[in-house]
Symmetry: none
DNA sequence: CTAAGCAATGAATCGGGAC
DNA sequence: AGTCCCGATTCATTGCTTA
């Protein structure tokens, strides 16, 4: 295929109205990134005093929970009419909206094939320390009716994942740097641009070359860009003319068949599989309150629930406390501290060894147990 | 205290009925792992009371969807009554049920604090190769009403995560090997036993020592086991007497021991020294007229007898003056202002730290002299 | 020229106690 | 109930500036 595909469509306007104009059962896949209805408060500050640019666009404001339900049912129903019976639909969202989306999918009779969790490797921090760092978005994958055949390119995804079957949580970075579309002044063009790597996996898994992919919330056209790269056709609907123009420009600039490495790359397994003291406590290898001693029993400390040690009012990591008590600059806590095992005092490190050997033996057990059906 | 905590309760029966017997606003935390594979079809009648024979798939689907909604609303409402206004609730589920649960939480007026995704390091493979490997479960964290204060032990979780704030996706293994409870024949006792490490993070994050944790679907008592280890009380409700017996046996076998709060709760670094600047002046840790400087010496001010700072005619609290001079909206004066100590300029906060450690050492001294105060 | 340091920023439902 | 104000709080990455 050369240049822009004449079958691709850029449609301006409200997605429900535009979808109603499309022929019934005419697309093979729907990928939708609807507004999340974030309901943000005003003026969150960074610790340094800077302000956080939250999503404050009109399109993300809804009057009520019920209004968002109505909106969701409307576009899902319209999408369902356009979708072929053997096609599937993806929706991405966050905890703010995804439960309403999933609920309405089931209520409308869609059959859920599963969900996939995008685990962001570099999410925005939680600046106030009041909650967990929100580092995920959720995609729901569904078919319009239970039991129909559907496209799932199992082996393509498996080879993308180092020849192990692809799991439903994907560690991928957010869009940054030159991949992020900018306006004339260097500001981000769209507040919620998705990484192409995410769409790459979605389209590769659930569509085939020549298929038509519909994105009712096209934005700046990430779905179209990846569809183009992968030889799929697309229909993009967007109500903001500026976004739609940017999308067209972006997609028409892509050389056919161009596949940057960043799309295909699988993150190498993390090198730092070292075990922290906190992990041993979490997993119950040593309990909070348990006593540990230095080699000759000169120092005594107690294990705290977060994996640190407490002794005479000071607390610190096994290494830091050991160093402090000895008046030294450093100390290997794994060797310095002893824990009672079967009547004798063994180095803390033996707990790590026990954990490692236990993990190995359950692995073997698991592998010899391949009987359970799906 | 030794042995089982007399405050802990093992309640047999339907969770809604048992929760209705508990006092209103009596628990600090709810952790719920509701079933989703209910055989709901059996007792269901079509609207109008038509015969069950020849039930088509749609009726079955919509009836069971509605029945699971009813079930979910019933137990969530009962749990909400028992939960204190400042408490929080966790629910764990999979894509089969979590969207209904999340939807009903929001519909009932719960406010979502976020969700956490358990990413299983060793999930069951998908044997048919028709879907992604289902390697996650989702936990929703909610409070009964928006805007109330709630417990979140930020620093404890940060410690568990190598001193970086804890994200909302947790890589943890499924329960295997000796941790997995078995029946007499070596088969797993409960189909959905959760890892203690999961509950460890949940309880450490969102409860305090001495709090009461309610688990309405107690199963084999993982919640109770971890609550016991972490110095929390629990109420476990389970309708299967076999499970409840196994849970009691399991928990009572855990070595008890009363743990000081300091070992099972990590307080923020400064919690014990929230002292006003005026107090430091009053007690002579810093003298009126003494000079303080901003980090790089750009601003200079003098301490006034009432604890405020004076600089170039303006006066104000250490925070207000710091903010004013920098032209910022806010400023933490304890970090911003430096005071000379032993030839170098240390943050004002070190004075508070010195005062706190001096107080602590007198405490220890007193205790070592076996003097009982009062 | 490179290396180091500093600044900017990303779908965010991000206080609480005293008066 | 509203207002004031103290003071607690950030991770990974990119790109520009400075040494």
């Amino acid at each position: 295929m050369n240049g822009p595909n004449q079958m691709d469509q850029y449609l301006l306007g409200d997605c429900v109205a535009r979808m109603r104009e499309l022929p019934e059962a005419s697309v093979d896949l729907v990928f939708a990134d609807p507004p999340y209805n974030l309901q943000l408060g005003a003026g969150l500050k960074r610790p340094g005093g800077g302000s956080v640019a939250g999503v404050d666009a009109d399109w993300d404001r809804f009057d009520s929970h019920a209004a968002y339900d109505d909106f969701t049912r409307a576009w899902l129903s319209a999408a369902r009419r356009v979708l072929r019976p053997d096609g599937t639909l993806w929706v991405i969202g966050s905890f703010h909206n995804i439960y309403q989306v999933g609920y309405q999918l089931q209520a409308l009779g869609f059959w859920l094939l599963g969900d996939v969790h995008w685990a962001k490797t570099n999410p925005m921090p939680n600046f106030r320390g009041k909650r967990f760092q929100n580092a995920t978005e959720t995609m729901i994958w569904a078919q319009p009716n239970k039991g129909r055949p559907y496209t799932f390119n199992y082996h393509a995804l498996k080879s993308l994942n180092d020849d192990r079957q692809m799991r439903n949580w994907w560690e991928l970075p957010i869009v940054q740097g030159t991949d992020r579309l900018k306006d004339g002044e260097g500001n981000k063009l769209h507040p919620t641009q998705k990484p192409e790597a995410l769409l790459y996996r979605v389209l590769l898994a659930s569509s085939n070359p020549g298929d038509t992919v519909l994105d009712p919330f096209f934005g700046t056209g990430t779905t179209g860009a990846v569809a183009h790269r992968l030889g799929r056709r697309f229909v993009g609907i967007e109500r903001d003319p500026g976004y739609l123009t940017a999308a067209r420009k972006r997609i028409e600039a892509i050389a056919p068949g161009e596949l940057p490495d960043s799309l295909v790359q699988v993150r190498p397994p993390r090198a730092d599989r070292r075990i922290a003291m906190a992990t041993l406590v979490e997993e119950g290898w040593i309990a909070p309150g348990q006593e540990v001693r230095s080699r000759c029993g000169r120092f005594v400390a107690q294990v705290r629930a977060d994996g640190k040690l407490v002794s005479a009012g000071s607390a610190g990591s096994i290494h830091a406390l050991g160093a402090q008590l000895q008046g030294r600059e450093s100390c290997n806590g794994w060797d310095f501290w002893r824990v009672e095992r079967d009547g004798s005092w063994a180095p803390l490190d033996t707990l790590r060894a026990m954990r490692a050997s236990a993990a190995e033996s359950t692995m073997t057990e698991e592998m010899s147990r391949h009987e359970t059906p799906d």
